[in-house]
């Protein structure tokens, strides 16, 4: 009887499992640099108890959380601390999201508009007076170099140059490219198509792709995020039903959001497809291991690389696939950087009030990169790429781009022809 009660009385996010050990706070990137943030234990499971009495407890402090989930990776007791904090922030923050937050959150709307006017927008965004004005009026820090918008969207390139040829392959995957690849960095999408095609795999787009919703979730636009999420999950189901082996992503935050934030934060049941939403590197690694795909590498390829583990890649548990693939390239000398947050955390670092915290958090990582002095930094997250390129002299590439450059396309295609 008593045991029944114990076993069935489980709270959300494993809140009751907390043993008050403080390990989470010892690993939160924010507590080290922001004296106003009480840390995950206090803002999470401890605060949750107080919030039962007064929902406003720690309300002001909750916004400092980056939603990086490093506390959850560290917790020995499986408490979903980041989820507790995010859920409390959504439930208890009274202010409406500001114009700035709505702008930063609406990555696809902003992208669609900006792509049309890319040349003008890019020049304008880079101009000092415009940056200064953005700083003043909407609160986007003027130190930030906003990501450039590409004049051709990835999807446009794909339809014009690649879509037709994909039908030749019997094995297919669907690609969740995300807003960043579509509007700012089509080259990464193009590299993925090149790599997977050589590996004997066709790439298709999903029937309807919306932003994964991470920016909307962290800026508390929850109804909008849920709407997009439902469209995405329906599109995932459709792609799988139509024979795609998996839905692959090249950005770890998109992948993490669809796998974990949808059920945990938005209450969307994705259990039937969660396992099929994966990182492109994870999918490829498994195919190589099972012998279904073979890669032939260029003999002249030499690079010294440093791999940075993005927070959400760490939480996904998939960094070892990217590292494993990079280690397969004969000419690559790879150093795995200590896993530390880069400080940008999506739209967080773009906000004026967070700029200093964001840079302070990243400083440990930047220092280590400088010590190693690699040819390139490589990482699976787009926002980490911005942050590292803004804060260090090093250029950052996605592991997929490195692999696409390293393979001998002809020889690889030959190995994988059926």
């Amino acid at each position: 009887m008593t045991m029944d009660f114990q076993e069935q009385n489980i709270s959300s996010h494993n809140f009751e499992q907390c043993t008050k050990c403080t390990v989470c706070t010892a690993y939160c990137p924010v507590t080290a640099v922001n004296a106003l943030y009480p840390g995950p234990k206090q803002a999470g499971p401890d605060g949750e108890r107080y919030r039962l009495k007064d929902p406003e407890f720690f309300e002001k402090a909750l916004k400092f959380c980056l939603n990086c989930k490093r506390c959850e990776v560290a917790c020995p007791s499986g408490v979903r601390i980041g989820d507790i904090i995010l859920a409390a922030r959504i439930a208890h923050t009274k202010e409406r999201p500001s114009l700035r937050d709505t702008m930063l959150a609406s990555t696809d709307l902003m992208g669609r508009t900006a792509t049309i006017c890319a040349p003008v927008v890019n020049v304008a965004l880079a101009l000092r007076p415009v940056k200064y004005l953005m700083d003043l009026t909407v609160g986007i820090d003027s130190h930030r170099r906003l990501p450039k918008y590409s004049s051709t969207k990835f999807t446009t390139w794909f339809r014009r140059n690649a879509a037709e040829r994909q039908k030749e392959f019997s094995r297919q995957v669907a690609y969740f490219h995300g807003c960043y690849v579509n509007y700012n960095y089509p080259d990464l999408g193009i590299a993925l198509v090149k790599l997977l095609n050589a590996a004997g795999t066709g790439v298709r787009l999903m029937e309807a792709e919306r932003c994964c919703g991470v920016a909307k979730i962290s800026n508390r636009l929850i109804d909008e995020a849920r709407h997009d999420a439902e469209i995405n999950i329906a599109a995932v189901r459709k792609a799988l039903a139509e024979g795609c082996q998996a839905v692959v992503a090249t950005g770890s935050t998109c992948c993490f959001t669809m796998r974990d934030e949808y059920p945990h934060i938005l209450g969307i049941d994705n259990s039937d497809v969660r396992d099929s939403i994966t990182m492109a590197t994870a999918w490829l690694y498994r195919m190589i291991e099972s012998g279904d795909v073979k890669l032939a590498f260029r003999k002249d390829f030499r690079l010294r690389l440093a791999y940075h583990t993005p927070c959400h890649m760490e939480k996904l548990g998939m960094a070892n696939y990217s590292i494993g693939l990079l280690r397969m390239i004969p000419g690559v000398e790879l150093t795995v950087l200590d896993s530390n947050c880069c400080g940008i955390a999506g739209t967080y670092g773009f906000k004026k009030e967070n700029y200093e915290t964001s840079q302070a958090i990243g400083s440990k990582l930047f220092r280590q990169i400088a010590e190693i002095n690699p040819d390139f930094v490589t990482t699976d997250c787009e926002t980490c790429k911005w942050q590292i390129e803004m804060s260090t002299p090093y250029k950052v590439k996605n592991p997929i781009e490195i692999l696409a450059e390293a393979i001998d396309v002809e020889a690889t295609a030959k190995l994988n022809r059926k």
Partner: protein, 413 residues
Amino acid sequence: MKFDIVIIGGGLAGLTAGISLEEKGLSTAIVSTGHSSLHFNTGSFGLLGYDADRKPVASPADAISRLANNHPYVRTGMASLAPQAAQLLADAGITMAGSEAHNHLRISPTGIAAPAWLTLEGMATVENLRQQGVKRAAIVGIDGYLDFLPRFIASTLEKAGIAATVKSVTTDALRLMRKNESEMRAANISRILIGDRLDRLAEAINAAVKPGEADVILFPAVVGSENPDEYARLRRMSATPLYYCATPGASVPGMIIGRQLTSRYTRLGGMIFKGDSVVAGQFDGDRLTEVKTQNLGSDSLRADNFIFAAGSFFSHALEALPDRIVEPALGLDIDSPADRPELFGKDLFEPQPFMKAGIATDPALHAMRGGRPVANLYVAGAALAGADSLSEASGSGVAMTSALFISNAIAHK
């Protein structure tokens, strides 16, 4: 993914096994739910601190042979690997003093002098104070840091013939921290005591204890979790020789040891699946072929050999149900000293029988499942039955020597 060896649990046992196997050129991966009990380690390791009658042990090497027959040390003879364990720590850049021939006396967070095998350099022990001929010690606390108990430490020192004075210091950064709702705990404090802020602390300590006023300063171990170099730097900046005292967890010296071992392991090429848990295993006859984890979903981790080093009750590797103890992930057999109702002693401060419960093993430390040994699955560390790490002060010794025992067995297969 496929490896030569997959290790379940990344505590002291899992990391020791991983490092030793990587050093032998084998490919390994560690899956670990979250941080381990190293985060509560005081900076001192026990091989055997107390015997069956709870008497302090002077020489672990001698006392081990008098343990019960079902103790893992006695069943395997693995305690003879203690010097190899000390070498592994040194190779990972962790300087610890002590030997298996003679225990020394560490100073516990509550100020008790307790027997220990190895202690991290820079931590106060009764021996290093004696060897330095210390007559007067200044025990320096931090304003508002309540986990440090200077009066208790003073009384222990007085018994050892050392006079102690008690002081307290603070700095701007520490004052600001007190205003925050976050607690003044060792691991939290150490995150802000870096760079210039550590220089300010050194100045405050030097102002509080003038040169010549004391032979030694004892200060809580609240420096170095971010960057182990800071741990040594504060000692260098102190005008009077400074030693650290253990604190309750999360404990900085334990975190430093954990960080060094983890970075040694990854530098050797080991892969860690952090924050992930093994949830099931696939068995084929007397062999484990693969394990499933929470994050990897339909992918599994395959290996020729597996090591179960997931700890005990505290780390959720063992679970106590109303009528029995179980190991939920792989369904391994449990070796328990008594039935469930007799597992608890009436006096909380007496040794508790349940502490000796663990995974049943054969003498080669293969895990038992359904009454039969699993030929390629070994058990290391706190998961082993037959040792009570708390009342014997044997936890670190069991963790490290069992891991080395298994690593040697796998290498000779």
